[in-house]
Amino acid sequence: MALLVVPACLLVLALLVGPMVLMFRISLEQFSPTELMIATVSPDNYVRAATDPYYQEVILSTLGVALLCTALTLVIAYPAAYWLARLQSGWKSLVVIATMFPLLVGNVVRAAGWMALFDRGGLVNQTLLAIGVIREPLALMYTPKAVVLGIIAVVLPYMILTISAVIESIPRDLEDAASNLGASAMRTFWRVILPLSAPGVAAGSILVFVLCMNTYATAVLLGGPRFKMMAPAVFDQFVRGNNWPMGATLAFMLLAVTMTFTVLGSVVFARRYRVR
């Protein structure tokens, strides 16, 4: 039986663990504009990334955007997930497909579409200008708000489908029982549905948080040149700056922050809701 996991393990070893070990090694080396990097073992890059105000800001804004997006996505997704889980019509499988549909559209294609719509010269601004609602084009794009909205639109299906799967496993009888015992719909939600769907909320939030932390295309295309998140910053170091050690360092810092918050969140959550 153990043989069954061999292919998966080999793939992960070759394509994930291998490169990570290599990257970690590179992150300890020293950058040189002429020789690419000089072989040493030093934590200098980490110290610099952690103390440099620029990187601090990138990390904090990435974390802020990810936490905000996760929270907003949760609030927007939960009612939809509940509705979907309790939907009994024959249309249900169609609704599930419709929910997943946004995942079929590539992030770049989608973001490019938004640019056509919301750019200074985009359809929305042109229309508003033409009918005289505004005199100056609105700055709809290249703002943190645009990035947050853009990310939410991308990750929403993950949250909805994850939570909905868990709510579906909560017997309806429990809602009837709560109501029978005198609980209004609101109290039934807080005392029965939410605690029992906690595993779905946890799984969905972690999934979405990780996706948000690693956002690349949406951040670049909707955030514009001045708004920086970690994944584009890593890319910049590797490709534009040719600074592999710093790129690797930032990548590991992103990983560390993501993991810290994921683990922290899971522990707090597990304690609150006794998720097993």
Binding site: P171, D173, L174, D176, A177, A178, S179, N180, L181, G182, A183, S184, R187, R191, V192, P195, L196, Y273, R274
Partner: protein, 353 residues
């Protein structure tokens, strides 16, 4: 405890009629069972009484209060669900205390009431267990306690015994009935199990296709069923279609002449002969009015079931299992026997009233 009245209650799902003009009254302290095959509308009726489902038309009253438009959480009924529907994330005590909490009782008062009712169902020692750490029977008692502790106006039981094994079922049946009588609970029980209904209920409502077929005490329904469906549903019954031939005989569709008595209250469309299997005795040889060959003999412990082929009809006879010196004990397939019954035992019934 309150009286329950249900007036012309109807529920349609699209074109399908689940419950059709149901009339029902449950007196204070009475246990009434809704009995019928699956899809007969009994569960739909219970859900409308509990408030989980809005009726298409008709009214539900607790005492004289019209609760038809009242949401479930304001009706104060105590329901035991078929699945028990215990909250899996709460202990037995928390489950039982939930209803009290929703009524705004303080922690101390709540704890006292929970302890009392857990004692009543003999679960005090398991108060801190989660439902999944309890056996089926224990979960069932938590569900009972949870429904009782809120002092409901009406006690509702939805197939409460169907998830228990046969032996436990018989015990719990008596336990619930005893509790119900001692506390004087006005109770509506939904079941498809006739034995459950016959042994627990003061009165039975036999339902079919969303309509009431007959309401009566268990004995009334068993001895004086209104139609062939009720006769068959409340107990084993030999039912043969045909017509009354004369004052003294019924002719089946297969041409058999069966002895019956004239009856003043007989339905004019009586087209079925109904005879309980325990009302037939077996004689040996073909010298009786009705005789045929034994097809099977089934030993059931205290009783023995004999299947006899008469013409194209098949009769089931149930007799107390005979002692070894009884001639009946040696009966075997292909023996020729005659069937005898009191002329007043069969009833001639309409197929559908």
């Amino acid at each position: 405890m309150a009286r329950l009245s249900v007036e012309r209650l109807t529920k349609r799902f699209g074109a399908a009629v689940a419950v059709d003009g149901l009339e029902l009254a449950v007196r204070e302290g009475e246990l009434v069972a809704l009995l019928g095959p699956s899809g007969c509308g009994k569960t739909t009726t219970l859900r409308m009484v509990a408030g989980f489902l809005p009726p298409t038309s008709g009214r539900v009253l607790f005492d004289d209060e019209d609760v038809t438009r009242l949401p479930a959480y304001r009706r104060s009924t105590g329901m035991v669900f078929q699945s028990y529907a215990l909250f899996p994330h709460m202990t037995a005590a928390q489950n039982v205390g939930f209803g009290l909490e929703m009524r705004g009782l303080g922690a101390a008062e709540r704890a006292a009431k929970v302890a009392d009712v857990l004692k009543l169902v003999r679960l005090s020692h398991l108060a801190d267990r989660l439902p999944r750490e309890l056996s089926g029977g224990q979960q069932q008692r938590v569900a009972l306690a949870r429904a009782l502790v809120i002092n409901p106006k009406l006690f509702l039981l939805d197939e409460p015994l169907s998830n228990l094994d046969a032996k436990l079922r018989a015990e719990v049946r008596i336990e619930i009935r005893t509790l119900q009588q001692r506390l004087g609970l006005t109770t509506l029980l939904v079941t498809h199990d006739r034995e459950e209904a016959l042994t627990m209920a003061d009165r039975l409502v036999v339902m079919e296709s969303g309509r009431v077929r007959q309401i009566g005490t268990p004995k009334e329904l068993y001895d004086e069923p209104a139609d062939a469906f009720v006769a068959d549903f409340v107990g084993r019954c030999n039912i043969l279609p045909g017509r009354r031939e004369s004052e003294t005989h019924f002719r089946t569709e297969g041409g058999l002449l069966l002895p019956v008595a004239p009856a003043a209250d007989e339905h004019k469309d009586a087209t079925a002969f109904a005879l309980r299997p325990e009302r037939i005795t077996i004689g040996f040889g073909a010298d009786g009015e009705i005789s045929g060959a034994v097809r099977a003999v089934t030993y059931l412990g205290p009783q023995t079931e004999v299947h006899v082929r008469v013409g194209d009809a098949s009769f089931v006879v149930i007799r107390p299992t005979p002692g070894d010196d009884d001639r009946l004990a040696s009966i075997k397939p292909d023996d020729i026997v005659s069937l005898v019954w009191d002329r007043r035992a069969p009833r001639l019934l309409p197929q559908i009233s």
